[in-house]
């Protein structure tokens, strides 16, 4: 296939061979990714210069970053693959480990998964499982083990089968927030520490944990800073680019990533001072809330922004839920630091919790903070907890007079036309309100 490529996801055939990758398939996938990326990202107008780094990260998604990970492994560092923000990353970093969010956002591997898993489950779980069994994800092929959790039934039961292909460690996440639930999770955290200590042959100390906390706090602060800059009108960066950065946050080197996000924010602050934005100030400001969008799921953002809208916030795990809460950095002993870590993670308002009223408050807060004009609630098909919770969020929005649109979809392109019509009509109603 010939194309005038100014952007290319780089090929690493030797590396892929070592990792036992289905080279032919991954090569096709990286070409598609390159084309899609060029079309949806590089074509954007008034793009900040600081995005060049993230373009580079994507171009190295199947190679450069993998090389770094494999080198780290040679130094004895443990590599953990995840699909959830309910993973104590501070502990992984404290023990010199690497935490990688695995591939789960492409429709391409769903048919592979459906050979084993039922069709009627969440596309994210199917996509991830498919990436593994089809051997087209270099990250899956590089990790020491997969960290699974119990935040939904589809994941929980899939881990049992995934474990037949790749070592999968499951941590129980409580689904209520009472004192004994917190104690349970502290026990789980301690078991996880044992697992990490035995693999890394290192002992978790207070000093080490503080290092991990500092790295994570700095990373989360940089993402908060980026998100805050989107509240200006015109927004200095597109929603698509921000979603991309939030996705990259899960697999890039955390220290380098933090530095690059801060450099980008320096540039954006200057833009804000000059009143420069990526679109004119009349563009509709939309907040997205709901199921996380794993790389390369850019479907909703593409539609919203191609229709002249601007996504200004993602209330989602790949979004604010990942970085809204920090941890204190002053502790006198390890035990109290671990308790604070549990407290920090128990603030996560994942829809797996019941009740989960704090999420309703959080959505309203983010709506106000981001100066959005409407909320699009995004639910993946079969993502029961987010899907059902939409009702409560919708009721709260109606009470506050916030325009609200519910979209349920999956990774396939077949419903783009219908979603487009809904979003256009939603925009029409918001514009009429402006008059």
């Amino acid at each position: 296939m010939q194309r005038s490529a100014s952007f290319e996801v780089k090929v690493y055939p030797e590396l892929w061979k070592v990792l036992d990758i289905d080279i032919e398939r991954l090569d096709k996938m990286r070409m598609v990714l390159g084309e899609v990326y060029e079309k949806h990202f590089l074509s954007q107008e008034n793009r900040p210069k600081g995005m060049a780094y993230f373009d580079w990260v994507i171009s190295e998604i199947h190679g450069g970053r993998i090389k770094e990970i494999l080198e780290a492994k040679r130094e004895g560092r443990v590599v953990v693959g995840t699909f959830c923000i309910y993973i104590p990353e501070e502990i992984i970093l404290a023990l010199d480990g690497i935490c990688i969010g695995l591939c789960a956002g492409s429709p391409g591997t769903i048919p592979d998964a459906e050979k084993i898993l039922p069709r009627n489950i969440c596309p994210m779980v199917k996509s991830a499982f498919g990436f593994n069994i089809a051997k087209v994800c270099p990250y899956f092929q590089s990790v020491d083990f997969v960290y699974g959790e119990t935040t939904c039934d589809a994941k929980k039961k899939t881990w049992e089968i995934l474990n037949e292909y790749i070592s999968t460690y499951v941590m129980e996440i409580p689904q209520m927030k009472r004192e004994h639930d917190k104690r349970l999770w502290l026990e789980e955290v301690k078991l996880f520490i044992e697992k990490m200590e035995s693999l890394s042959k290192k002992k978790l100390t207070l000093e080490r944990l503080l290092e991990g906390i500092k790295i994570m706090n700095a990373k989360r602060k940089a993402l908060q800073r980026l998100n805050n800059l989107r509240s200006f009108n015109p927004a200095p960066i597109s929603g698509k680019d921000c979603l991309l950065i939030e996705q990259i946050a899960f697999y890039d080197d955390p220290i380098r990533f933090t530095k690059k996000v801060n450099e980008l924010c320096d540039e954006l602050e200057e833009k804000v001072k000059r009143g420069e934005g990526v679109k004119d100030p009349q563009a509709l400001r939309i907040m997205v809330s709901g199921t996380p969008m794993a790389l390369p799921n850019w479907k909703l953002h593409n539609i919203v922004e191609s229709l002249g809208g601007m996504v200004v916030n993602e209330e989602s795990c790949i979004g604010t839920r990942y970085f809204k809460d920090l941890m204190p950095e002053d502790f006198s002993d390890l035990e109290s630091a671990l308790k604070a870590l549990v407290d920090r993670y128990m603030k996560i308002d994942c829809s797996c919790f019941t009740p989960n009223d704090e999420r309703v408050e959080q959505v309203l807060k983010e709506y106000r903070d981001s100066k959005a004009e409407g909320i699009i609630y995004y639910s993946l098909a079969f993502c029961h907890t987010y899907n059902i919770e939409a009702y409560k969020i919708q009721k709260a929005c109606e009470k506050e007079g916030i325009p609200f649109l519910f979209i349920e979809t999956d990774y396939s392109p077949e419903d783009i036309g219908q979603i487009q019509t809904r979003i256009e009509a939603f925009f029409e109603t918001i514009r009429e309100r402006r008059r």
Partner: protein
């Protein structure tokens, strides 16, 4: 000024032509493979100075006809408000989707719901069922409203529902019962959307399926109120598009 409102739907193209504020003509044609080829003959005859397009193919018309675009939702709201300003709830069932729209006293869209991504509860569903029964859409429309229907179609999916209908036929269930079950299945889907959105009087029924008298009567009996339906319900969207061209979007 010559003004054209055009609704490029999934099954048919509807158009409404105004000269100044006077409605001069309107029509319905099959969409075919290339809807724009179907549009060109009358477009060149009318030579509109302003065109607003709506419907599934609206973005096609944007460049080819130099049209402005609005969604079917806004077009139907505008069209029905012109025909009957007392309407607050619209049921629109077209060839490929069904919608429920709530509008305010000025005809502005307040909220809407659309069916999920399949043919259940649409005009296409009715066409396929009629085909399976070897009857016409007019036969469906003339069917009587049964007081105590005994059978139900369980399948949401059009393809499965068709097999269900065929097996009912082979079991010797009467045609009237089967038609009633078909209409029930659409009406129930519409009722769910109406209940989600909240019904406010008065209610209108638009889109091609609004010509189905039996379905209209069934919805009226479920809602326990009378439903307004325009004389030519399928052109409501095109009419709305023309009116929006007239007054500006």
């Amino acid at each position: 000024m010559r003004i054209l409102g055009i609704d490029l739907g999934s099954r048919t193209i509807k158009w409404v032509y105004f000269e100044g504020e006077n409605l001069k003509d309107f029509g319905v044609i099959e969409s075919g493979y290339n809807p724009l080829d179907k549009v060109r003959p009358f477009f060149e005859k009318i030579r509109p100075e302003k065109t607003v397009a709506t419907g599934y193919g609206r973005h096609l018309a944007k460049e080819a006809l130099k049209a402005e675009v609005v969604t079917e939702i806004k077009a139907h709201a505008t069209g029905i408000y012109y025909l009957n300003p007392e309407i607050r709830t619209i049921i629109d069932i077209g060839g490929q989707d069904s919608k429920v729209i709530k509008i305010d006293e000025k005809g502005r869209v307040l909220n809407f719901l659309m069916n999920e991504k399949c043919a259940a509860g649409t005009g296409r569903f009715l066409e396929i069922m009629a085909l399976g029964l070897g009857i016409t859409l007019e036969d469906l429309s003339q069917a009587p409203l049964l007081k105590n229907p005994k059978i139900k179609i369980g399948s949401m999916c059009t393809v499965f529902a068709e097999s269900e209908v065929i097996s009912l036929k082979h079991k010797g269930v009467s045609l009237e019962e089967i038609i009633m079950a078909i209409h029930e299945s659409i009406a129930e889907r519409i009722m769910v959307m109406l209940e989600r959105l909240g019904v406010e009087e008065k209610v209108a029924f638009t889109g091609g399926v609004a010509k189905n008298k039996a379905l209209k009567a069934l919805l009226e009996s479920k809602l326990k109120l009378s439903i307004f339906s325009p004389d030519y319900p399928e052109i409501t969207g095109a009419l709305g598009a023309a009116l929006l061209a007239l007054k500006g979007i």
